[in-house]
């Protein structure tokens, strides 16, 4: 048997006639950080709650450490659970919040003290034991919630959008913190988010979901670089997706004909089953399109198109351009060094076509 801490096989969840999760299978390796990623309503929380034992699956099996837990109630599953809204016990101080789970286990008073203090130290709140939750900031409350969940040494840590209620800067800090703690403890973690950058930064494995169905499972690089569907390509980073037709096979390359953009060569490996004449979809990530002055020299590793800037979206260290290129509107996300282009400028658009992704099944 593989070393999987959690295993879901063929999980289906129906609410009356509505199917929220459809034939969901995946496994979490022991110590790994797995993220359920997808848009609102795709069934992430439902899946997590089934693992927690807060919802019963309509079909399928859930195993934790090899044991089938479908019929095991939540309080006997040994889980850590962290919610977006912290859900601390408002009538107990920080110490008692963290100690809560230990009181239901056979742990001596002295050990409880020791373990709670260790946990609070781990989340960097060593001196706040006597405070009430209402006296803490959102970030501190979430740290306490995390301490409360890990102090019981759960078999799995389940996190439902734990960072979403925090403001942007704090969210980044907490993300790094959470990942540090997870790695340090080597705790198996199932994380739910609809934020692709969180998913990419933290996960060992990402499960991209859509309408209750798994679209793709893979390491962050894999789902980012080799999306299997237009949905995955569009959900992870902004992608330009255009219709194309295979023109001819040319050595190591496949030449794709795109209306208005001309011939775009992509590596053969990107499109193993391409045959001349096949209709495909071509994915050009916005960060793989580089906007240059029209008169700038062309290098040999790119393909150049002439375009006109339609909209400029300034984002601080980066800038997003929307460009008209023939009948297409493409977006390009560029790091900003030097002056930016303005709306209406005629520019040259360099396409890093080696990074293009070909979807062989058109929509």
């Amino acid at each position: 048997m593989t070393d999987s801490a959690v295993e879901l096989s063929n999980i289906v969840k129906r609410f009356d006639s509505f199917t929220a999760v459809q034939r969901f299978s995946m496994s979490l390796e022991s110590g790994s950080f797995v993220t359920l990623l997808g848009p609102s309503g795709c069934g992430k929380t439902t899946t997590l709650r089934m693992v927690a034992g807060l919802l019963d699956p309509s079909e399928g099996d859930i195993r934790i450490r090899g044991r089938r837990v479908n019929e095991v109630p939540i309080h006997q599953r040994n889980l850590g659970l962290v919610f977006q809204n912290y859900a601390l016990f408002p009538h107990r101080n920080v110490f008692d919040n963290v100690a809560f789970g230990l009181k239901y286990r056979k742990v001596s008073k002295a050990d409880i003290r020791q373990r709670v203090n260790n946990a609070l130290e781990l989340v960097q709140l060593p001196d706040l034991g006597r405070r009430m939750p209402s006296e803490l900031s959102g970030g501190q409350q979430q740290r306490v919630a995390l301490a409360r969940a890990i102090v019981i040494e759960p078999d799995v840590l389940l996190l439902d959008e734990p960072l979403s209620a925090l403001d942007a800067n704090l969210r980044e800090d907490m993300r790094i913190e959470l990942k540090r703690i997870q790695t340090q403890l080597g705790i198996t973690t199932l994380f739910v988010t609809h934020d692709q950058s969180e998913a990419l930064a933290m996960s060992d494995k990402i499960v991209v979901m859509r309408d209750g169905v798994v679209e793709q499972i893979g390491a962050p690089r894999e789902v980012y670089d080799k999306p299997v569907s237009e949905f995955v390509a569009g959900f992870l980073g902004a992608a330009n997706i255009v219709d194309a037709r295979v023109h001819e096979l040319d050595g190591d390359n496949v030449l794709l004909q795109v209306d208005d953009l001309g011939m775009i060569p992509v590596p053969r490996a990107r499109c193993p089953a391409c045959a001349p004449g096949t209709a495909v979809r071509l994915v050009l990530r916005s960060e793989h399109l580089i906007v240059q002055r029209a008169d700038e020299e062309h290098s040999h590793d790119g393909l150049y198109l002439s375009a006109r800037i339609a909209t400029v979206d300034y984002q601080g260290q980066a800038i997003r351009y929307f460009l008209h290129c023939g009948k297409h509107t493409l977006q390009a996300l560029n790091m900003l060094d030097g002056p930016a282009f303005n709306e209406g400028d005629s520019v040259s658009l360099k396409v890093r076509h080696r990074d293009a992704v070909v979807l062989e099944t058109p929509r």
């Binding site: 927690a52 807060l54 109630p73 939540i74 309080h75 006997q76 599953r77 040994n78 889980l79 850590g80 659970l81 919610f83 809204n85 859900a87 601390l88 016990f89 408002p90 009538h91 809560f100 789970g101 239901y104 286990r105 009430m132 209402s134 006296e135 919630a145 409360r148 969940a149 019981i152 389940l158």
Partner: protein, 262 residues
């Protein structure tokens, strides 16, 4: 005069009409003379003293306290359980049951009183004190449910789920988390139930067994014979109890609640 000024005047008159008699009763209860008329001849507590020595009234007080306390106890227990069911669980017919539970405060009390009386008669049951309590429970429980339900709905179930995930059984979770968080609402509900029961006359007149008098029915009975200044004193005591108790309760609840933050 503008429309707003008219409206304001109207409102003032309505409040005067409602509260002036109450004020007069309170003032007259301290009147030294036998006849309730102005100007007052002097201040005195003699009518309160007379109350204290009036055996019938003291008995009525004891009955009302017992009735109010038991009513509060039963309707709070049932009301909390019903609220939990309504907010935390899904089951068929929930909407209908929810309406049914609240209905007693929507139906005019006389109608409810007559209906229950006829029902008891149809069953051939004699009027007894426990049945009087039952009647009071029926129309005080909706208040408990409304207060507790509102609190429950504002509390996400995530705190309870967190407790469960940490190894507390559902029963342990109820006592360690749900009940303490509901505390102030339960307390407020119980006070409502007590005061409403203590205050009630319509239902009580229909349901009380012979020989049993509560404070309101006692006042009613006394009024039939004569208008004694004792009644003013009794009225004052009733006002203090039924207005003071909930205010006191709310103050306590607020203290408990704010004590939680320090």
């Amino acid at each position: 005069m503008s429309g707003w000024a008219l409206l304001r005047l109207h409102a003032i008159l309505v409040y005067l009409f409602m509260f002036l008699p109450v004020g007069i009763v309170v003032v007259l209860s301290f009147n030294a003379s036998q006849f309730g008329s102005f100007p007052m001849t002097g201040l005195s507590l003699r009518w309160f003293e007379a109350l204290w020595h009036n055996e019938a009234i003291m008995r009525a007080f004891r009955t009302s306290f017992l009735l109010g306390t038991l009513t509060a106890l039963i309707s709070t227990t049932l009301g909390v359980l019903a609220s939990l069911a309504m907010v935390r669980y899904r089951f068929p017919g929930k909407q209908a049951i929810s309406t049914l539970l609240i209905a007693p405060i929507l139906v005019p009390e006389v109608v409810l009183a007559v209906a229950l009386l006829l029902f008891l008669r149809a069953l051939g049951l004699p009027k007894t004190f426990p049945l009087l309590i039952l009647g009071h429970v029926i129309f005080t429980m909706p208040f408990v449910i409304l207060v507790v339900q509102a609190r429950l709905a504002s509390m996400t179930s995530h705190v309870e789920e967190a407790a469960l995930s940490l190894g507390a059984s559902p029963v342990q979770t109820f006592f360690a988390v749900t009940l303490p968080l509901l505390g102030p609402a339960i307390f407020a509900g119980a006070l409502f139930a007590f005061t409403i029961s203590f205050d009630d006359i319509t239902g009580t007149l229909f349901w009380k067994p012979g020989g049993v008098e509560t404070v309101p029915t006692q006042i009613f009975a006394m009024l039939r014979n004569s208008i004694s200044p004792e009644i003013n004193a009794l009225g004052t005591v009733m006002i203090v109890l039924t207005v003071g108790l909930p205010l006191l309760g709310m103050a306590v609840a607020r203290r408990v609640d704010s004590g939680r933050h320090h």
